[in-house]
């Protein structure tokens, strides 16, 4: 019993030893009756200890497959992979008792308490009873879960679940950590805390970490980055190296007063030589395919106030590296109803929702004018979705009032819903039906028929590039196309108001950019958009924002106004994320900006 554990941490050799090595690794998934899919094409890779290696790539790049191969959960089709010098095929058990692995769906038992989950993994990993109090104390302190040991895992917030998942995978002081998208769907505050935990581990225990992520800003925090794309390694190296290659190719453009950043972004993203155009901190950030001779000449000065060359980041490099796709131009006409620009289409007053004795939404008020994009921001469990569902009439209101196009959707007749489009958080179309059958059904559901229906379906197939896949069952569509179809369905009947619940959750950076360009176009044509998101940078695309936390409003206003809350000498150009973290941590008093967002 007391024989010292041979594999205790700190004895794994020098911190920079190779902890993971893949050689010409191939993984093919074959299913009966289907063409085999090659998830990894001859990957060769080395991961060093004592640092964080980020595995970056869009959906379906093979990130999860690589991590599972390393953990011995999958067998390579050919080639080899070894972890801590142990072969993952033959010595899986040995690897599994030395490595911490955190799957994407955190492997927590919802019915078990925090403490019971820790006990389970401690037992499974064979942590001696004597070492447990100290280890638990350390992990609980590190993750901030000490107060919640008696709470069921199912009742923790998303961020807390992730931290508990991490704690469980760290229970035996592993010599290496494999993390599969540990920060997905987690609010910025929790995300930063997770990173702090990982960094502390690397510093104190000198372990190697391989983590996959779809947040490109996280890549900058890694010691090394491996970019995967369609099962191949596109590039690998230190983030600095990626940034260096882009030097001189990244500029920000300030929109001229009265022009708006979205307008400028739309314009720039269609320009030749521009690989990427996004809105950051109120300015349009452009990445060029080569060092431009004169970026000034690209836009007329009536659109653009000034141009600044900026320090490139990993995201810029990533976008420049991916095989470039033609981003769609402004969508073709959508015949939204005409109306006064200032007309209020969505209105909430003192909105409350109580489940039992839990107050999920504590009195939220806002207004959205016609043709505006309104964003609901907040971490998981902040009450965004509940608020959103109350707006669409999917959940009853405990107190307060919601008016959409002047009507309460829950009480008014079904016809009132005729004018809205809705896109749910998870893909929620009929998976068994073909793309075309889905479009036809939803078209008819909204009263379209005959030639009008055919016309609109034609429009949708062209607009969302679905024509070649019109007979594919919706459930078999790849992620990006599912999202397009969902949007096509939401827009088929030319709604005046569009409700989008986390439309970009789980989408890769390319798809997210494409999505926002479309939304932009529709809003310009007078469609009112209400959208929830936990991607803070997406807040920049909104006209007004409402930041929520624990059911209450933290701040409301334009992105500019929100950013200004934290503008200081130390941080002259803050992002919405900075503001969010400051607000959530109570560093600045949560406040309602006078008339913020009100027309």
């Amino acid at each position: 019993m007391d024989s010292p554990d041979r594999h205790h941490s700190g004895q794994s050799g020098s911190p920079n030893a190779i902890v993971l090595k893949a050689e010409r690794l191939v993984k093919v998934f074959g299913q009966k009756g289907k063409t085999p899919v090659t998830a990894l094409h001859e990957i060769s890779l080395e991961v060093a200890g004592g640092g964080v290696t980020g595995l970056v790539g869009p959906d379906g790049a093979g990130k999860t497959t690589l991590l599972r191969l390393a953990a011995g959960l999958l067998l390579p089709s050919s080639g080899s992979i070894s972890v801590l010098g142990l072969d993952a095929t033959r010595q899986a058990i040995a690897i599994q008792s030395r490595v911490g692995y955190m799957p994407q769906q955190f492997g927590l038992y919802q019915e078990l308490s925090v403490r019971e989950n820790l006990d389970l993994y401690a037992d499974l990993q064979g942590v001696p009873a004597l070492q447990r109090p100290e280890r638990y104390e350390k992990l609980l302190h590190m993750t901030g879960l000490a107060e919640f040991t008696g709470r069921r895992a199912g009742q923790l917030s998303g961020g807390m679940k992730q931290k508990l998942g991490l704690a469980c995978s760290l229970i035996k002081a592993p010599q290496m950590l494999l993390l599969d998208e540990p920060t997905v769907g987690v609010d910025p505050v929790s995300r930063r805390e997770l990173w702090d935990i990982v960094n502390q581990l690397v510093r104190d225990e000198g372990i190697g970490v391989l983590m996959s992520t779809s947040y490109l800003d996280e890549a900058d925090r890694c010691d090394r980055v491996v970019v995967l794309h369609e099962g191949r390694i596109l590039a690998q190296g230190e983030p600095k190296f990626f940034r260096e290659t882009l030097r001189g190719r990244v500029f920000t453009f300030a929109p001229a007063p009265g022009r708006g950043a979205r307008f400028l972004q739309g314009k720039l993203s269609g320009t030749a030589g521009v690989v990427d155009a996004t809105i950051r901190s109120g300015r349009v950030r452009c990445v060029f395919d080569a060092v431009p001779s004169s970026p000034d000449g690209l836009v007329s000065c009536e659109d653009c106030l000034d141009i600044k060359a900026v320090e490139p980041n990993f995201e810029d490099a990533f976008m420049a590296m991916l095989p470039h796709q033609e981003l769609p131009v402004t969508p073709r006409a959508l015949h939204a109803e005409e109306g006064a620009e200032q007309e209020i289409t969505v209105q909430a007053r003192g909105l409350k929702k109580v489940f039992g004795d839990f107050e999920a939404v504590k009195g939220i008020s806002f207004e959205v004018a016609r043709g505006k994009i309104f964003g609901l921001l907040g971490p998981n469990g902040a009450g965004k979705t509940t608020t959103f569902r109350m707006l669409c009439g999917l959940t009853g209101v405990s107190d307060g009032e919601v008016l959409v196009a002047g009507k309460d959707l829950r009480r008014s007749r079904a016809r009132a819903r005729q004018r809205l489009g809705y896109m749910a958080q998870i893909f929620s179309l009929y998976r068994q039906l073909s793309v075309l059958a889905n479009l036809e059904f939803f078209g008819r559901a909204y009263g379209l028929h005959g030639r009008k229906l055919a016309e609109r379906i034609d429009w949708a197939l062209d607009e969302f590039d679905l024509r070649t896949r019109q007979d594919v069952q919706a459930g078999d569509l790849p992620g990006g196309y599912r999202q397009r179809l969902a949007m096509a369905v939401a827009l088929l009947h030319e709604p005046a108001i569009l409700f989008l619940d986390e439309p970009t959750s789980g989408a890769d950076p390319l798809a997210r950019r494409e999505f926002w360009l479309r939304i932009n176009g529709f809003s310009q044509q007078g469609v009112t958009v209400v959208v929830t998101t936990h991607f803070m940078e997406e807040a920049e695309y909104c006209d007004t924002l409402l930041i929520m936390s624990r059911g209450a409003e933290l701040a409301q206003g334009t992105p500019e106004e929100i950013r200004n809350l934290v503008r200081s000498h130390a941080n002259p150009e803050p992002t919405v994320e900075d503001a969010f973290i400051a607000l959530a941590e109570g560093e600045i008093p949560g406040q309602l900006i006078p008339n913020g967002g009100r027309p």
Binding site: R417, Q418, Q425, Q432, F442, V489
Partner: protein
């Protein structure tokens, strides 16, 4: 017009979803077929060719005559002749025979003297039903033996006897297969419809499509209509096919009116769809719905009179079965098939089903919008 178009689109969608989903297709096709044959053949209380052992210590022409009557009947088959009383226990214990006929050595003597000649019948009671039925058969054989025995003698003065004539109406040969097969269509299609409808809302909730429906300009009534129709249609088609199968495959007689049959099935399916949608509206996942359906189906089959008569149950439980729609359809189908009943005759079975449908359908429509996850 727009109302019709919308509802039609919804109904079409429901049918397409059921027919395109391999799991739903499986539910509609495989279990019903399996159950049809298993129930049709295995679900029977008929007892045939009971294995019996004989211990004949008399060894006289009379005893042999009695044994021949046992062996020659459809009901028994002699598998062993025992040599002594000590073998009886072993034979019964080991289930080599299910009853032993023991004829003592004074059998013929007593018989010829006109005294009652006792024969012992030792029956294995492990299956109580087989024991009861076998006893009945044996009594019948002994009765017939006595009748012909006494007829051959002159009647002693003052001695009287009763000749029992037995007749069974509606099912002269007492085949229990008809009894089981007649309500089979209703029972099996209940399982199918219960699964289909209980999954229909739960599936949409699980995949999030239900929100899409609620956000679209459908009224709960329209959704209810579209959700009930496929269940009712599949239920009626399924049960009519099974009924036809019963008539064609198992030779079930059809003596009643077709109108009564269709009316009974339609109302029954409406009540089942009501319960199924209620279960579905209450469930958040398909797994919950499936368990809910299972928990409903099992007691309702057991307490319907389908396998064992409701009349045998304790009084309080008989009252409980009044809430079971299957009870009514089982009774009604037997009346229609075996007794030749028409709509008026089955009316006592119809209105409770209407009542159940009326009590379950509106609440499930209400729950569409009010069930909170």
């Amino acid at each position: 017009m727009t109302f019709l178009r919308r509802v039609l689109a919804l109904v079409m969608k429901e049918f397409m979803v059921i027919l395109r989903d391999p799991r739903s297709r499986f539910v509609v096709i495989v279990p019903p077929l399996l159950q049809f044959f298993v129930f049709g053949y295995a679900a029977t209380f008929d007892v045939t060719r009971v294995r019996c052992a004989i211990l004949d210590q008399a060894r006289t022409p009379e005893s042999r005559e009695l044994i021949a009557r046992f062996d020659g009947s459809e009901s028994f088959r002699v598998v062993r002749y025992l040599q002594g009383a000590q073998e009886i226990d072993a034979v019964l214990d080991a289930q080599q025979a299910r009853l032993v006929l023991f004829i003592a050595d004074d059998f013929s003597e007593k018989l010829l003297q006109g005294q009652p000649a006792d024969v012992q019948l030792i029956v294995d009671g492990r299956n109580s039903n087989v024991a009861s039925v076998a006893l009945g058969y044996a009594g019948e054989i002994v009765d017939r033996f006595n009748r012909s025995w006494l007829a051959s003698k002159t009647v002693s003065a003052g001695g009287v006897r009763l000749d029992v004539e037995e007749r069974a109406w509606f099912n002269a040969n007492l085949l229990s297969r008809w009894y089981v097969v007649a309500p089979l269509g209703g029972t099996i299609s209940m399982v199918v419809v219960m699964l289909l409808t209980s999954l229909s809302v739960a599936r949409e909730r699980e995949f999030g499509t239900f929100d899409q429906l609620l956000v679209a300009p459908f009224t709960p009534g329209e959704i209810l209509l579209a959700k009930s129709l496929p269940g009712i249609v599949f239920g009626i088609v399924d049960s009519l096919l099974l009924v036809a199968g019963g008539v064609w495959w198992f030779g079930l007689p059809f003596r009643g009116s077709l109108l009564a049959l269709v009316t009974v099935l339609t109302l029954f399916m409406a009540s089942i769809v009501g319960i199924g949608l209620l279960v579905s509206s209450l469930s958040m996942t398909m797994q919950q719905a499936l368990l809910g359906a299972f928990v409903f189906v099992m007691p309702s089959v057991i307490l319907s009179g389908f396998t064992t008569p409701v009349e045998n149950m304790p009084h309080w439980l008989q009252i409980g079965t009044l809430a079971n729609p299957l009870r009514y359809v089982v009774t009604a189908l037997r009346q229609i098939f075996l007794q030749g009943s028409g709509v008026a005759d089955v009316w006592p079975q119809l209105w409770p089903m209407i009542l159940i449908a009326v009590l379950t359908l509106p609440p499930s429509a209400w729950l569409f919008r009010h069930r909170v996850g």
